[in-house]
């Protein structure tokens, strides 16, 4: 009886996963999608537990219990600003799981032929994604320096590492019995994961996280081939394509290629060559800023990673409320790579109760800037830098930007005049219609709100 029920369980689970992703297309149906995904997972796990091959439940139950005891607080206590880190660490867990299963499977059954090929792929991707995600986590959590770490000949060293690991993998496919090769293969994969992420800087994290998401999925899919399990193949493929699409979107939003993100060590080269010259800027006080906002009819806010760092999203929502009550149209312009992961700004602003229909994508909001009275830039820099359009040899040339400079007045809240991640000076700051608001984003927005409330 179980033999007939199990394929049915797996099939329904696959359907649940597909529906889960389908329903993510709109916030209205998305929570239904989570339930579909949960049901799918439940079916798959229960079905597997009932398989005749599974006889010993002790360790499985202990792991379930421990995993839930760790997972539940991880989900509920994690502050929303730490979501990129959480995502990175969960990629690490997922990749570790599939790498270890591959390893166990190898020592247990020493498979041959196609199964071994799948197993080698699974463990290679699993181990390298594990350490790479840990490194990404370290950079996002700022345990490790967020600036790229580079040295001479780095790309050659990385390439050699990768080629050797793949070479050993191929050797293992042809003679799976040479068991002493396996630990070296695993070790090199782990090492490659580390060396892959070291030269990548903080602002490239959206792409990297998406890519690691894809790798973790592909590793699970390869496991599906190794275990001859179609459900794993499907779920892994869905995850793999999801990560890949997000990575492509991120790359397009920076006008860069994968290779450039992974091997380009962006942001390192520029710091030394940038000419430092003091140019005059116009600055303004919270009072003046409040006055201008009060006189505006349409305001577009451009949040960036700096908003997340300053935790300014709640104050920003207060500003949104005050201005909206006065009949001023306030919208938020979201650049695809703003923040440290895809969709980062949206989640933070949604957490602060900004209605999501006010969060507008780049292509939709750009034509609106000439009609806007004020463009308020908070903690964003490179994504509003006109050099991307005007300066041909700029490192960010060709990157699509939010055209804040076309607004009647531009206000930029910024701590100081230091350059952005890419280390390039921003023309926007020196324009005649730009006002620099120097200070901490949270404090500054707070003072503007206070000012607006005072003169009702």
């Amino acid at each position: 009886m179980m033999e007939n029920l199990l394929p049915l369980c797996y099939m329904l689970a696959a359907a649940g996963f597909i529906l889960a992703i389908k329903w993510m297309n709109s916030p209205a149906t998305a929570r239904r999608g989570v339930i579909a995904g949960e049901l799918g997972m439940l079916l798959a796990v229960v079905g597997t537990l009932l398989r005749f091959e599974v006889v010993d439940y002790t360790w499985i139950m202990i792991a379930f219990f421990l995993g839930s005891a760790i997972g539940v607080p991880l989900a509920y206590l994690m502050p929303m600003t730490a979501v990129p880190q959480r995502t990175a660490i969960s990629h690490a867990f997922g990749a570790l799981a599939s790498a270890l299963i591959g390893t166990a499977e190898y020592y247990r059954h020493t498979p041959h032929g196609f199964t071994m090929l799948a197993l080698v792929l699974e463990t290679l991707l699993g181990f390298l994604t594990f350490t790479a995600s840990l490194m990404a986590f370290g950079k996002l959590q700022e345990i490790l320096p967020t600036r790229p770490i580079t040295y001479k000949g780095q790309n050659i060293v990385n390439l050699m590492l990768f080629v050797t690991a793949v070479g050993l993998g191929i050797a293992l496919i042809f003679s799976p019995e040479t068991t002493w090769l396996f630990p070296i293969f695993a070790g090199l994969s782990l090492l490659f994961g580390v060396s892959l992420i070291i030269p990548i800087g903080g602002a490239d994290m959206p792409t990297v996280i998406a890519l690691l998401n894809s790798y973790a999925g592909l590793s699970a899919s390869a496991m599906g081939f190794a275990l001859d399990n179609k459900l794993l193949i499907i779920a892994g493929a869905l995850d793999g394509s999801s990560g890949l699409i997000l990575a492509i979107i991120m790359c397009k939003a920076m006008n860069r290629s994968f290779a450039n993100v992974l091997f380009g060590a962006f942001g390192q080269v520029q710091t030394s060559s940038g000419k430092i010259e003091a140019r005059p800027v116009r600055s303004a006080s919270p009072e003046e800023a409040a006055e201008m906002l009060d006189a505006a009819r349409s305001v577009i806010v451009i949040p960036g990673y700096g908003m997340a760092v300053a935790q300014a999203q709640h104050k920003l929502r207060e500003l949104f409320d005050v201005l909206t009550k006065r009949g001023i149209d306030v919208r938020f312009a979201i650049h695809p790579v703003a923040g440290r992961m895809p969709g980062h700004m949206n989640v933070l602003l949604a957490e602060a109760d900004v209605p999501y229909d006010k969060l507008i994508e780049m292509d939709e909001i750009n034509p609106e800037f000439p009609m806007a009275d004020v463009a308020l830039v908070i903690g964003a820099n490179d994504v509003v830098n006109p050099a991307a359009k005007n300066v041909k040899d700029s490192p960010i040339a060709g990157m699509p930007i939010l055209e804040a400079y076309r607004a009647r007045t531009v206000m930029v809240i910024k701590r100081s005049m230091s350059a952005g991640f890419a280390g390039i000076d921003n023309e926007l700051y020196y324009m005649d219609n730009t006002l620099m608001l120097f200070g901490d984003a949270k404090v500054f927005v707070g003072s503007i709100v206070k000012e607006l409330n005072a003169n009702k």
Binding site: I18, I21, M24, N25, S26, A30, R31, G37, M41, V45, E53, V54, D56, W59, I60, A63, L66, G67, I70, G71, L74, A75, T87, S90, F93, G94, A97, L100, I101, Y107, R108, N213, A216, S219, A220, M223, F225, D228, N229, K230, L232, I233, I234, A235, G236, A237, L238, S241, S242, I245, P336, M341, P342, G343, N346, V347, A350, V354, P355, Y356
Partner: protein, 103 residues
């Protein structure tokens, strides 16, 4: 048809389906999408259960399997819960009160 050949077809179709579905996901929800797919790919828990619960598992395979079940369970549990927690925050403006449905 050999089993792996069949598997490759399944993979190809699932990948195309994934591309089509994910292209339609609003950029608004890219972060929850990522944590959702992450929870889904923790389906590797299936493989981990098989390894850990096997009749004559060795100490090595059982230990590796145990860690794998643990890691995958953390992802399943925290992945789905945090996705739901994030999605709960996405609210539309209430047309009557002009309020974003705050409690």
């Amino acid at each position: 048809m050999k089993s792996y050949e069949f598997g490759l077809y399944v993979f190809m179709l699932a990948a195309f389906l994934g591309f089509e579905l994910i292209r339609r996901v609003s950029p608004l929800l890219h972060t929850p999408l990522m944590s959702l797919t992450n929870a889904i790919s923790a389906i590797s828990v299936v493989g981990a259960i098989l390894i850990t619960g096997e009749k004559d598992a060795t100490v090595l395979t059982r230990t590796l399997g145990f860690i794998a079940v643990l890691a995958a369970t953390i992802n399943v549990v925290s992945g789905y819960l945090i996705t739901d927690r994030m999605l709960k925050m996405f609210k539309k403006r209430d047309p009557k009160t002009g309020d974003a449905g705050r409690k």
